[in-house]
Structures are given as C-alpha cells and as structure tokens.
Symmetry: C2
Subunit: 348 residues, 2 copies
DNA sequence: TTGTATGCGTTATCAT
DNA sequence: ATGATAACGCATACAA
C-alpha cells in the first residue's frame, strides 16, 4: 500500500501547508477563505508557508465543496462577427475584475449548439450570459431555471436582460436621411430569426411611416459581408436613394457591392450601418447607429454578479440607448439616376 | 441529522440514479465513464433512469477525482484585434469537438496580466494555449512546467508551438512590388515587443536586400487602425511608392490616412497588409499576406489534445505557410509624385 | 460483470 | 481562535 495511484502533479495541497505551518488543515483553509476568523499572527505564518511551497487554493475542490465555481459562461452566435469581440472583451475584463473566469462558447448561429453548450458547461459555472441567442424561449427558460441566466439582445419576460434601445438610433437615422431629402429607403435585413433584426426592421418601418417615406425591405439572410454584396445587386433594381443595413458588416458589403458596379458612395447611394463596430475603419467612414456593445457586455456581467452575490432573484431589464453617428456615407440624393433603374432598356 | 446543510440545487447525482436503476453508484459511474465494462443491458437500464431524472455527470466532481478537467485555457492579447476572433472561433470549435470547454482570457497586451490569468485558471484546465504572448520566456517556461502549454506565434525552444512561415509571404509581397516597378518601400511596423513583428520586419529587410530595393522602417507602436493613420502622415514625408504594413488593421489605417490627404490607392501608393482577416472587406479590397489564423488555432488545439491524450511530452514545431493574396491595393507606381515630397515648397 | 470502500482538495459543522 | 471530521460527486483499486 505504498504505490501512489494518483501521482499528485506536484501541486502542494492544504495538507502540506498545514504540516509546514504547524497548524490544522482547517486553519489553512480559513487563511484563504475566511481570514477574519484568524489571528493576524497565524495568518502570517500560514501565508508564509504557502508562499514558500507555492500553494494556491484549488478552485475545483473549492467548487465541489461550496457549489460555487466562480466561473461564468458567455455564449455568442459567432465570435467572428465584429459585434461580439468588443462585447466579449469588455465582459471578460469585468468578470476578471470580480475574479470570475469566463468560458466562451460559439454556437455557430445554431440554436441546438447553444443548447448543448449550455448543458455541457452548466455544472462548471455559476451563471450564463447569452448574447443574441437563437434558441427558443422555452429552452432558454429551462436553462434559466438551473442557473442565473442573463440575456443580451433578447427580450424575454421575467429574465434579466441587457438590451439596446434600437428605436432611438433608427429614428435618428431615418430622420437624418429624410432631412437630406431622401424619400425612398431600403432596409437590408439580417437573419429573420434574430430578435435584433426584428426590432430594427420594426423601428425602421415605424419611423418611415411617421415621416411619410417609402421603406422597402431587402433580405440578406446572414449578417455577413457577403450577403451585403448580394443585396447590392437587388438594390440596383430598385429606385431607393438610401439604404439602412442590419449591421455594419452588411453595410460594408452593400458599399463594396455597389462600388463594384461603379456607384459612388454617398453620391449615388447613402448607406447607414448599425453597431458602430467597424464604422470608423471603413473608407469612406460609415455613418452608423452606435450600439455600445462593450457596455452591453459589462452591464450583463454586472447583472449576473449582482444576482450571484446577493442571491436575490430579480429580472431587471436594462436598456442602453443607441444613437446615430454621422460620418461620410450619407449625403443628399443625386437627382438623375434613371439610368440605373432599367439598365437594359435605357440608352443613357 | 435531517437538515441538509448544502441544499443540492436539484441536480440529480449518481446516488439517485443508482437508486432508481437498482444498481450501485459505481455502476452508474461506469455507465458514463467506462461503459465497455458493463453489460449493454445494465447500461440501458442506467441510461434510462438517468434520462428520466435528467442526470448529467458533474464535471467538477469528475475533475477533482481524475485530476483532468477537460477544460483548456486560451489566452490572447486582445480579443478585439481582428486577427484573433477567427483563431478563437476555430480553436473553440475544435476543442468542443473533442468535448473540451475553453476558458478565454484577454491580457490586454500586458505581460503581467497573462501571468495572473495563467496562474488563476491553471487548476481548472488541463492545458494552455498562449496566442502571441507578450510574457517573457522565463515565466512562460514556468507555466509550461505545470501544465502542457502550446504557443501560437512565438518560437520558444522545446515548447510545442504553431507558427507561420512569415518569410514566404513577405518575400512574395516584396517580389510582387518589385515586379510592379517599385524601388522604395516602407515597412510600417507593429509593437516592437511582438515576436510576429520582429519576424516580419526581418523577412522584409532580407527580401528587400536580395532584390536590391530600399526598405525604410516606420514605427506604428500599437497594431491599431489609429496607428496606421498616424503612420500615413510619416509616409507622406518619404519618397516610397509602396507600403507593407504590420497587419491588415494598420494597413487599413494607412489607407484611410492617405485617402484623407487626397491620395488614391493604389494609384498614389501601393499598400500590402498582413493576416488576411479583413482584407476582403475593405474597399478597394486589400492585397495582403494570408496568415491562415483559423488553422493556427485548430493546429494549436490539436497539438494540445495530442499531448493530453497521449501523455507524451513532445514539442513539435508546426509551421504554417503564408502566401500573398493579390487584390486591388497594389499597382505600378505613378511616375510624377514630386509634389508630395515637399508639399510646402513645391508649387504644383 | 458488478459491488465496496477509499480518495481527490476543499469548505463547513461541530467541538474544544 | 483553532482542531477534528463529515460532506461535495465522482472514479477507481480491490474484492466478490
């Protein structure tokens, strides 16, 4: 009975520190979890021994014992979508500040992937943050019943959530276009399953109606640059003079698609994006609605921390305003553009 | 002795499944960890009971018992830098495929942050992946001594690493420019502490020398769009006709900065990026060196999995080639550009 | 093939 | 203020 079956990786445990410090294991534990119960003298001694051995409390054992892992899960539909990196970054920073580590999951836009990620990680985390989830409400509620769950960009009753006030920004954008003289505007939509898309479309329709403008919808099934480019083709067959895109990525695609066909932005078409995540990086700089995604991430984490620390079971609904940022892709509509309307028949 | 001190969150444990299935706890355990030891019949029965109760093995307890958490840590200097999202995404997908969950850490480009993230997460993961670490070699080796550690974009002897072959791509880029007729080229550098930057600069110098071109270095301290724009100002005071930027982001900044001052790309200046992460999204589409960052992420994960599964202690050095992708930001140099050289004195 | 018993590293409940 | 000891949920050596 001398053979070690589980070769301890060399990491010192509480036992060895206790031995070295000449105290019980309980005392060592208290030194790191509830030092207020100890004499500063013993704390000192234990700390010294721990430092000497390079001891660090094992979070796994701690988690098993307390039922709290000090981990949170952040699930996003697509890390590579430029909307999310700033959000993830800010969320991670805020969590780290509260000494929580974060699991990152990418659902690849698939509801069922969200589902499995959530169930697989569940036991290792104290709570979830779901950004722009595609999962159906019922399943989300099921997960929320197990652990505290915060929603970003999705509005489900009685669940804590951080949303953006899409209306303000979209209204500003359409008003801006109307003031420039545009009368016919296109909305290039994102994924129809996306709550964000529905909100934006609804807001655009409402604002256009109020201002007496014509708004036509054009579908870009995925929120990608590619889809935007394809949408550009469809735009050419319309007589709109301005376009509002689902997000910056789509807007960029639209601009490129239009440019490829020889149109100049904003002379031949005004384009407005949404999110303001890469707006400042395009040329010409994109007029867009700023969504403050970093703040969204931070607030979501804070919502979760609040619930975890307090133990209370609330469901705040935080709404972060959006606002139009006018840059260089919007201007007055050009007067003569009939040649574009029916490129095959019009001679000039 | 009836009061539960730790109110089990309602999550069923192995014990309850054992009870329901009429077997011992060990059998339930085996059903999920080593089913090959069991009769398909009993497996069936246990599975049914488990499904019935909604039982899922608790990874925390499992980790404490086995010493393996099936978690890995991925540390990057800046999630928001467009180089990393595709890498993170691909790495996460590959890890998930092998049923590993991933912790994401953002060091905010600070070496000391890497250090603390690493030590804090260490006990919860089976291994680390460090992407473009800024941490000094000694510290990295210390962490590598505790757990398997894979490097991305950093070449440290005797440590497993996934690198890109910068030379190929840079040489292709400079050759491409030389063939177009450029004789004086600028390299707009990235962070000097960055191994990647050193590699690229070295490769550029070498290639330029071989082709008899003049290469001048221009500093852009941070790898950001902003820095690129600032570098544009410096470029105007030189007589170079082409620029190779540290990465796509800097390239984009350079292009914007140049465009702001009325220059047209590529007519007035050829620009080459590096990474190919947003190249296809710019307008005009950026000529750049493709770095295959997604593959870098996948290979790093596979390197780690290989070590974890096999237990072997190797240090492969994987090198992924880069290659030039010619798009629309490079062309022959314009002949007359003297007006730019001394903008204050030249009348025309 | 399956059951019994012990350990993983910590926290928490009692004592002292 | 500190020490002994029983959980936490699972895996595994050993026994049957």
């Amino acid at each position: 009975v001398f053979a070690l079956t589980k070769p301890n990786t060399g990491t010192p445990t509480i036992t060895e520190v206790a031995l070295a410090a000449g105290v019980s294991r309980a005392t060592v534990s208290r030194t790191f979890s509830r030092p207020e119960l100890l004499t500063s003298e013993t704390i000192e001694r234990v700390r010294a021994a721990a430092a000497q051995l390079g001891y660090v409390p094992n979070p796994v054992a701690r988690a098993l014992s307390t039922g709290r892992a000090r981990n949170i899960a952040l699930i996003v539909p697509d890390i590579a979508n430029p909307f999310f990196p700033p959000l993830i970054r800010a969320a991670q920073a805020r969590a780290d500040e509260a000494s929580y580590a974060v699991f990152l999951g990418d659902s690849d836009e698939k509801p069922e992937r969200e589902d499995v990620l959530l169930t697989k990680i569940a036991a290792q985390v104290d709570g979830f943050i779901l950004a722009s989830p595609r999962l159906d409400e019922h399943r989300i509620r099921t997960h929320a019943a197990r652990r505290p769950l915060i929603l970003i960009n999705r509005d489900i009753e009685a669940l804590p959530r951080a949303l953006m006030d899409v209306d303000v920004g979209i209204t500003q954008a359409i008003t801006h276009l109307a003031e420039l003289g545009h009368r016919r505007i296109a909305y290039v939509s994102g994924p129809s399953a996306s709550w964000a898309n529905q909100q934006r479309q609804k807001a655009a329709v409402k604002a256009a109606k109020r201002l007496g403008l014509t708004l036509m919808g054009i579908a870009a099934l995925h929120p990608t640059y590619q889809s935007g480019q394809e949408a550009a083709t469809k735009l050419l067959n319309t007589d709109v003079t301005a376009t509002i895109a689902f997000d910056d990525l789509v807007a960029q695609g639209v601009i490129a698609g239009l440019a490829d066909r020889g149109l100049q932005i904003p002379r031949d078409m005004s384009v407005v994006g949404f999110d303001d995540v890469l707006a400042a990086r395009t040329y010409p700089p994109l007029t867009t609605v700023a969504a403050h995604c970093a703040e969204l991430g931070v607030r979501a984490v804070e919502l979760l921390l609040e619930i975890l620390e307090s133990g209370r079971n609330e469901a705040p609904r935080i709404v972060i305003p959006t606002e139009l940022v006018v840059r260089a892709t919007t201007s007055e509509p050009a007067k003569l553009r009939s040649s574009r309307r029916k490129p095959l028949t019009a001679a000039s």
